[in-house]
């Protein structure tokens, strides 16, 4: 028995979530008195995983898996879990990993807990803490099956080095043609821009910015910080910004290190989606805006004055600290 993680990658490189998952897995494995095995898909140099405590790496290399196909990937993870006799399978909470997690759980007849935050509350019975009610509460879930699948909430644990050495092994799971019923025709990615899912910092604008012509304010600040840009729901409903930037309970979730809200009132549905961000800053002209109740730092004032000044000052700060 060991603990299995799927170390997610894109374009031949591990995603940051893979290192967070490995760090988390190491700690859980210690509690359970076992080791961490990672399964990787089409990565030639996997050595980086060893830095975060992975003991064994199953390397899958197969051209059929060149593009992400949820069913086929889920099948690979299932076979890896069976080969290793894994009792706990850990997955991330990226869009792709969420897509395949439930398939893995059903295939392994495993109980599945998604949105897990923190280490297991107890290992016997096996209980984990999960985000629920759109970050307004936590739910302690007990998993009663022999095999357990956990989805770790993004940015909820952190990345910790735990240098060791990992053995590497080529793994050739059976690839089932029936797993390719959904075929990708084309992929569109915003080029050169940080995505909300991957960003450490998100700069978000609301209706207080008055119109799409003022978004230069948000973009300039974001570019100085290497941040992704986001917006409140009405801003995307009004067509000022694309829907892909809508964050909140009915939009994208944000769990970043720093979330800067500009001209956003802080409605309950907005906060629900961004509340797992570690540090929140609000800039709003109305001192009564509800966002001030959930923010760590706040500035009361006119965004049109403050944001350009802040951008200039951060530029100088960055120049000094790089």
């Amino acid at each position: 028995m060991s603990l299995l993680i799927y170390a997610e990658s894109a374009e031949g490189k591990f995603k940051k979530v893979a290192f967070e998952l490995a760090s988390y897995a190491k700690k859980v494995a210690e509690t359970l008195g076992t080791t961490v095995t990672a399964v990787t898909v089409n990565i030639s140099d996997v050595s980086e995983l060893a830095k975060y405590g992975v003991d064994k790496i199953l390397k899958v290399n197969n051209d059929k898996l060149a593009g992400f196909t949820a069913k086929a990937y889920a099948d690979v993870i299932k076979q890896a879990a069976q080969k290793e006799g894994a009792k706990v399978v850990l997955l991330s909470s990226t869009t792709d990993s969420i897509y395949l997690s439930s398939l893995v759980a059903v295939a392994l007849e495993a109980g599945f807990a998604s949105n897990v935050v923190g280490l297991p509350v107890s290992t016997s019975p096996f209980q984990v803490k999960r985000n629920a009610f759109s970050n307004k509460a936590f739910n302690i879930t007990e998993i009663n099956t022999a095999i357990k699948v956990l989805g770790l909430a993004k940015n909820s644990y952190g990345i910790f080095e735990n240098a060791g050495s990992a053995t590497e092994e080529d793994f050739n799971p059976t690839i089932d043609e029936n797993d390719f019923g959904v075929k990708v025709a084309s992929v569109e990615k915003g080029s050169g821009k940080v995505s909300i899912a991957d960003a450490d910092i998100v700069v978000s604008g609301g209706r207080g910015l008055k119109g799409p012509e003022n978004w230069g304010l948000i973009e300039n600040l974001a570019s100085v910080l290497g941040a992704a840009t986001a917006c409140s729901k009405p801003v995307s409903d009004l067509g000022w910004r694309p829907h892909s930037e809508h964050v909140g309970q009915t939009g994208k979730p944000v769990a970043t290190n720093l979330y800067i809200a500009i001209g956003i009132s802080g409605a309950i549905q907005h906060i629900a989606g961004i509340n797992s961000s570690k540090v929140k800053v609000v800039i709003n002209s109305d001192p009564e805006a509800p966002f001030f109740k959930v923010a760590d730092y706040g500035i009361v004032g006119d965004a049109f004055d403050i944001v350009p000044q802040l951008t200039e000052k951060l530029k100088a700060f960055k120049a000094q600290h790089s």
Partner: protein
């Protein structure tokens, strides 16, 4: 085309979240229930298929009798019929198992669920149904068209989107984008009247293992008060973000 739309009955997004019975149960006191927003986008797209392509739309919920007003609302919006599986939706797999049974017996071509429900946020039901039935599955689906058996759809991915081709039978986890916000429908009087006469079938659940159970709930620790920084002292904000919060 036979479409099944899975409807989750969830607290309105403005609800205060409290727990009762020693923090072991969600406190429904004073809570208004609505159609889960992700499911509402899916339902509206299903009605589009009904109106434009003659599809037949059934809505289904796994829940107690208290969820019937939510199903009636879906009927008032335009669904042809409703099914309620009479059981407490204890965990994602239990619900998926019930829905898979309904799908098997009903011969649905397209199953539209929401990519997650806004109460437990599990995000697992559509994928589990697909896992149980072995059908094609697309999650985070933001657009879908069907011609004959062929499906063209869009999936949101981190940082972009991908267009996919697949075939029926298909299960999707849907979200905003399936229709625009402005296309969501509020039931009108005629809809509400006809909904009363539409069939709402009650089915008893099939056996399913109890894989997981919610044993307790907790509320987040109260937050410390915001630190206000004067608008003419932006250096202080940078200092705090750098030295105290350590995020820049």
């Amino acid at each position: 085309m036979k479409i099944l739309v899975c409807i989750s009955h969830v607290p309105d997004t403005t609800s205060k979240i409290n727990f009762s019975n020693g923090d072991s149960e969600f406190d429904t006191n004073g809570v208004q229930y609505v159609i889960n927003p992700n499911d509402e986008f899916g339902l509206t797209r299903a009605i589009w298929f009904q109106e434009q392509q003659g599809a037949n739309v059934t809505v289904v919920n796994v829940g107690g009798p208290d969820t019937e007003p939510t199903l009636r609302k879906a009927l008032a919006i335009g669904a042809n019929e409703a099914i309620r599986v009479n059981a407490n939706p204890t965990d994602g797999f239990f619900v998926a198992k019930q829905l898979a049974e309904v799908i098997k017996n009903g011969g649905y071509d397209l199953v539209i669920a929401g990519k997650e429900s806004l109460d437990y946020n599990g995000g697992m039901v559509p994928g589990m149904i697909a896992g149980i039935l072995g059908s094609n599955f697309l999650n985070s689906c933001t657009a879908i068209t069907v011609e004959g058996n062929n499906v063209n759809a869009v999936r949101e991915i981190d940082g972009g989107k991908e267009t996919v081709n697949t075939t029926l039978p298909l299960i999707i986890g849907g979200q905003k984008g399936l229709v625009e916000e402005k296309d969501l429908r509020i039931p009108n009087m005629r809809g509400i009247m006809t909904a009363r006469t539409k069939a709402l079938t009650i089915l008893e659940p099939v056996d399913a293992p109890v894989n997981t159970k919610a044993v307790k709930f907790e509320k987040p620790a109260p937050k410390s008060a915001v630190k206000l920084v004067a608008a003419d002292n932006l250096d202080e904000l940078i200092n705090l973000l750098h030295n105290e919060a350590k995020v820049i």
